[in-house]
């Protein structure tokens, strides 16, 4: 099969998945940061995202700590 048109309808459907994943990742980064800056706990953020506290901590702790957020006493 010759290579399909990269902007054809099938390719665009697949590209939409890529773009949505990227958008979801960036929205998550921004939303988690906004909640943590507003004083939310890891548990609350995890509940809001429907994931475990461990998962959200593992994914965002280093980034937010690097941004200078005071993450002590957020263990609830």
């Amino acid at each position: 099969m010759q290579s399909p048109d990269p902007t054809g309808s099938e390719a665009s459907d697949l590209a939409a998945v890529v773009a949505l994943r990227e958008l979801a990742d960036r929205l998550e980064d921004a939303a988690v940061e906004r909640a943590m800056r507003a004083g939310w706990s890891w548990t609350q953020v995890a509940e809001g995202l429907g994931v475990t506290r461990q998962a959200v901590h593992k994914k965002h702790h280093r980034r937010l700590e690097g941004a200078g957020l005071d993450l002590r006493r957020r263990n609830a």
Binding site: P4, T7, A15, A16, L20, R26, D29, R63, G66, L69
Partner: protein, 163 residues
Amino acid sequence: MPELLHDDLGATLKSVVLGAIDEAACRGATKVEAEHLLLAISASDDVAAATLAEVGLDHAGVEAALRVERENALAAAGIEPVADERLIAARDARPGWGTSIREALSRGNFRVRRARPRAERERLAVADALVGVLRADLGTVPRALAYAGVDRGALVARLEALR
């Protein structure tokens, strides 16, 4: 992360690959992809950047092409672009390697020049990597270039003809 940054790349290409990490990080990307390598190449002062600029793909041109690609991709799912101010977040300075940059670097033109003098290989290493980026037929980069009206085949031919 470091395994793509081996010394065989030569100093110039290595610094461009490091630039690709910065391009990914400052865009909040979780992975360094081929489009970030394209951005870093376009921002370099390499002959490859000059070749890109000749078809309108200076750094701003590549950014614009990628933006159009993302808008079109989201539109295919009925999604409007989200305002940048809603996406402001602290960046992870250590994004991982994506599949497309691995593929690009493995598809580069390096092997063709294996028998050539080291100086020539080093001088054209970034151009050879760019050939690898441009050889992808599907995905973000070929879509962006198609929307920008750039003839990828002609661009590859010009890069391969560099001596």
